[in-house]
């Protein structure tokens, strides 16, 4: 049941109606049942793994609370539960990848052994909910949060349907706390969440899936395209992945908001970032926060000298790459971002000196625009590895782009008709203008301050734009990109 399907809209409408009609004490169990139904729509077998993760971590949380005075036992419980849950993730997501690496090594040293692995179907959302429960366990272990005593609340914290597929990766301090509180209907919040929902659908169906057409066309047939087409594919993919993932998050946050819950804000105009560091504060913030809290800081962060810091950064981005996918392309993508951070840090002093010598102010518009454009280009370059089916394809694309062969480029050869192309190209500046406006003024707050006819006009325009220009339905709409992770 994808977010872009009619079934999901019907499902959400029904859940919403019943949720607000039910007395408060029944809402959590009801939402839990609805979430399990939603999850089992993909495959009922997935539910087993979800239940295992939920029950094991719920029990471990309670046990750790009881073992406050026995630190070694408490640690054992933590490690065992982590191992059990991480091994599920490792087996389903990484077994084939690591197996193929081992096989390549064996082939290299000429060991005549052929490894075979079962083709396992990755349970949807496993990367997201596993990280969430790891965070919960670590917080309980460190005493940052109290163990949940209400199984239905905890199970809902893990399985809440708007976020189970692609996050945000909620920490217990934010979401579990909300589940314990009574939700009251607020018309203003309802309207704001509805707006967010519409913006999410607009980003996904009108922008992301439209930008996907030239991307898929070019990436699917690299041999028939040239340098400029490659550049265009890389550019559109950068926009596609942002609109796709942030669109999903907006829909998830919108649906949760309609029920009175606040999910974490995952995106904060990442393509307006002035540096890679800034980009990671704005892009997939819940994941960045998770990595910072549960990997970077425990590793020592920046407290153990510059080289240890560099190593920690590279470890974090390596894990981030692997989290996104079991392939070398994702590993390289992660390492590139790690390198960006290191280069940024090591060259900062020289850059500041140069700026001072040239009398360029960091707060001035020219510098800010340049840094935003440069950051975007660096991110776009890294996305090439993220999207490419193989490293060879990624290098083909990069070689093509840097060959600067722009002759013979045919706009009509991008898998779109003329009208679609014009529409897509018009949407690019539109997207950036909206991002700028939202950064400065906050679109939803601005809209909520307008008079009713203006607000409704905007809603109708959004709805009709989605209906007319959106790409949806189970045949035509693309899956959300982060769905696979």
């Amino acid at each position: 049941m994808m977010f872009t399907t009619f079934s999901f809209i019907l499902f959400t409408a029904a859940v919403l109606l019943l949720y607000w009609l039910l007395p408060g004490k029944y809402r959590t169990p009801f939402l839990l049942l609805a979430s399990y139904y939603f999850y089992s729509c993909y495959d009922i077998k997935y539910l087993f793994f979800l239940l295992f993760s939920t029950l094991s971590t719920y029990g471990a949380g309670l046990l750790m609370e009881r073992l406050q005075d026995k630190p070694r036992s408490k640690k054992s419980v933590l490690i065992l539960t982590l191992l059990a849950n991480l091994s599920l993730l490792l087996v389903f997501k990484y077994l084939t990848f690591f197996g193929s690496v081992v096989q390549q090594v064996l082939d290299l040293i000429r060991v005549p052994v052929t490894l075979t692995f079962p083709q396992l179907l990755l349970p949807v959302g496993i990367s997201f909910y596993t990280f969430q429960i790891i965070g919960y366990l670590a917080d309980v272990y460190n005493g940052k949060t109290a163990a949940s005593h209400d199984l239905s609340q905890y199970a809902l914290y893990v399985a809440y349907f708007p976020k189970i597929m692609q996050g945000p990766i909620e920490n217990s301090a934010n979401f579990l706390v909300q589940l314990k509180e009574k939700r009251c209907f607020s018309y203003e919040k309802f309207v704001d969440s509805f707006t967010l929902l519409l913006i999410g659908y607009f980003k996904k169906t009108v922008l992301a899936d439209r930008f996907a057409v030239p991307v898929d066309t070019i990436y699917g047939n690299l041999a028939s395209y040239d340098g400029f087409s490659y550049l265009l594919a890389a550019f559109f993919y950068s926009l596609q992945i942002y609109c796709d993932f942030s669109g999903y998050t907006d829909i998830a946050r919108g649906v949760a908001g309609l029920m009175g819950y606040d999910l974490l804000e995952n995106f904060s105009h990442p393509y307006l970032a002035g540096s890679i560091r800034d980009f990671w504060r704005r892009w997939h913030a819940s994941l960045t926060k998770w990595f910072t809290t549960y990997i970077y800081i425990p590793l020592g962060g920046n407290r153990k000298g510059i080289f240890r810091w560099a190593l920690n950064i590279m470890i974090v981005f390596l894990v981030s790459g692997l989290w996104h996918g079991a392939a070398f392309t994702f590993v390289i993508w992660g390492l590139i971002h790690g390198l960006y951070q290191l280069i940024g840090k090591f060259t900062r002093a020289y850059k500041d000196k140069l700026l001072a010598a040239l009398h360029i102010s960091k707060s001035g518009y020219p510098y800010r625009i340049c840094s935003v454009v440069c950051t975007f280009c660096l991110v776009m370059f890294a996305w090439i590895f993220f999207r490419a089916p193989s490293l060879t394809d990624a290098f083909t694309l990069i070689r093509g782009i840097f060959s600067f062969r722009f002759a013979g480029f045919d706009l009509m050869n991008l898998g779109m008709c003329k009208e679609e192309l014009i529409f897509s190209f018009c949407m690019v500046p539109f997207l950036f203008v909206m991002e700028l406006f939202d950064e400065k003024k906050n679109l939803i707050v601005t809209l909520s301050r307008q008079r009713l006819p203006v607000r409704w006009l905007v809603y109708y325009i959004l709805i009709f734009t989605i209906i007319m220009f959106g790409i949806y339905g189970d045949l035509s709409a693309a899956s959300f990109l982060y769905f696979q992770f």
Binding site: T5, F6, S7, I9, Y187, N221, L222, A223, S224, Y225, D226, G227, S229, Y230, T396, R399, G400, S403, R405, G408, M412, N413, C417, E419, W456, Y459, Y460, I463, F464, I467, M468, Y472, G473, D474, L475
Partner: protein
């Protein structure tokens, strides 16, 4: 804000949305989806088609009307839609005959043998999307709307609620008109699925032999008889044939054809062109001529259309002349004795100049001068990142005018990487 006020506000929002939706829905249709064939048939100024083809997707992916028109001079048009069934075919014919009287009608009988309305309404998305306007009974229309909702075609379903039955805007002319134009075939008369896919076809004869008999239903018989009555009333010669349909053959059964032919015996205007699943060798269809398991690709369609023209020559006493047809005809890869490969391409027009070129990673490795040599020898097959293509140009083109060259040439990609990452050498190599 009180609960009553909130309910009132939400209700008003939905009401205004519904009014806006109803007012604007006619503008939502994509103009590109309008069928020129239907427009032509309903245009009182336009000449009637000499030969009208009717059938479902197995027909409109297998016959190229422009090729027939250019080689025989007969104005040929296709009225076919995905999963079109007997009742929709009859409905189409009624509308056609209300406007125009074609000289000849060719009906591809898969459309007559296919499932009845209830089955299609329940399961066939292509049918729902392409035939809605032809569904006459209101309970069936509501079933179709339900089906569309169930398959997430939300606006399609919403719009259909309010669409008048006599509109036909939803007939799509082509799924991929740009590549069709590049092949030299105009898309306007209905030909789709031209993606250059070397998909694996199937041994259709074997599949056919294994197919389980499935008789004609009363529903099909009734609609078919009505079709025959309609044509007989206008005294239009009708030619029935069954196109080859790859792996889908099992779902369309054969003893149905025998039954169907029994009903044609009393009609003098009806002729049987045969079951083409049984003459694939004669047509020259092989496994590489299929777009998917049930439909021909452009190569298959070219062969199939040429065979159709041969049949028409026999029955209609006409003479086909391909010399003025400027379009891709066939290709071949042969391995020579020294191990090198010969890539041969053929245009219908003998007065064609060819220029082969190869690209690697977007960069042109070489391009031969335009000449009448329609083959090129290469020491090996192109690598994964290379693609071999050919430009074809009419011989009367002014070679000093680069703009004319660009406008008149057609490009055909000869071969590129197959799905399996291994090149698939055609069977004649």
């Amino acid at each position: 804000m009180s609960k009553k006020q909130i309910a009132l506000r939400i209700g008003s929002f939905i009401l205004i949305f519904s009014i806006l939706f109803l007012s604007l829905e006619r503008y939502f249709w994509n103009g590109a989806a309008t069928s020129d064939t239907w427009a032509d048939i309903q245009d009182p100024e336009a000449d009637p088609p000499d030969i009208l083809f009717m059938g479902n997707s197995h027909l409109f992916t297998a016959i190229i009307p422009d090729l027939i028109q250019q080689s025989t001079g007969l104005k040929a048009e296709i009225l076919g839609s995905s999963a079109q069934n007997a009742e929709i075919t009859k409905r189409n014919l009624e509308i056609v005959l209300a406007h125009k009287t074609p000289k000849y009608i060719v009906i591809e009988v898969n459309a007559v043998l296919s499932a009845n309305m209830e089955d299609l309404l329940a399961q066939n998305r292509g049918f729902l999307l392409n035939n809605f306007d032809g569904i006459q009974k209101y309970p069936q229309r509501f079933s179709a709307i339900k089906g569309l909702f169930a398959t997430d075609y939300i606006p399609e379903a919403l719009f259909q609620l309010f669409r008048p039955s006599e509109t036909w805007e939803r007939w799509k002319k082509s799924k991929n008109s740009s590549s069709l134009t590049k092949l030299g075939y105009l898309p306007k008369t209905g030909f789709s699925n031209v993606g250059y896919k070397d998909s694996h076809g199937a041994d259709t004869a074997q599949l056919y032999a294994n197919a389980k008999p499935k008789g004609l239903t009363d529903y099909n018989i009734q609609a078919f008889q009505e079709i025959l009555d309609l044509t007989a009333s206008k005294n239009i010669p009708v030619y029935l044939y069954k196109n080859m349909i790859g792996q889908d053959v099992q779902s369309y059964q054969v003893d149905g054809i025998q039954q169907l032919l029994q009903y044609t015996e009393e009609y003098d205007n009806v002729h049987w062109l045969g079951d083409w699943n049984l003459v694939t060798d004669e047509i020259g269809i092989n496994a590489y001529d299929f777009y998917d398991k049930g439909h021909l690709n452009q190569k298959g369609a070219v062969k199939n259309t040429v065979y159709m023209i041969q049949q028409l020559e026999e029955f209609l006493d006409i003479q086909a002349d391909y010399s003025s047809v400027f379009a891709y005809r066939s290709e071949q890869i042969d391995q020579l004795k020294d191990g090198s490969y010969r890539f041969t391409i053929e245009n219908f027009s003998p007065d064609t100049l060819y220029s082969f070129y190869m690209k690697e990673n977007g960069k042109t490795l070489f391009q031969t001068e335009y000449s009448d040599q329609n083959y090129i020898d290469l020491p090996r097959l192109p690598s994964r990142y290379q693609s071999l293509a050919v430009y074809m140009l009419p011989a009367d083109c002014d070679m000093t005018d680069t703009r004319e060259i660009r406008e008149r040439r057609i490009a055909v990609t000869f071969m590129r990487e197959a799905k399996s990452k291994e090149y698939e050498v055609l069977p004649n190599s």
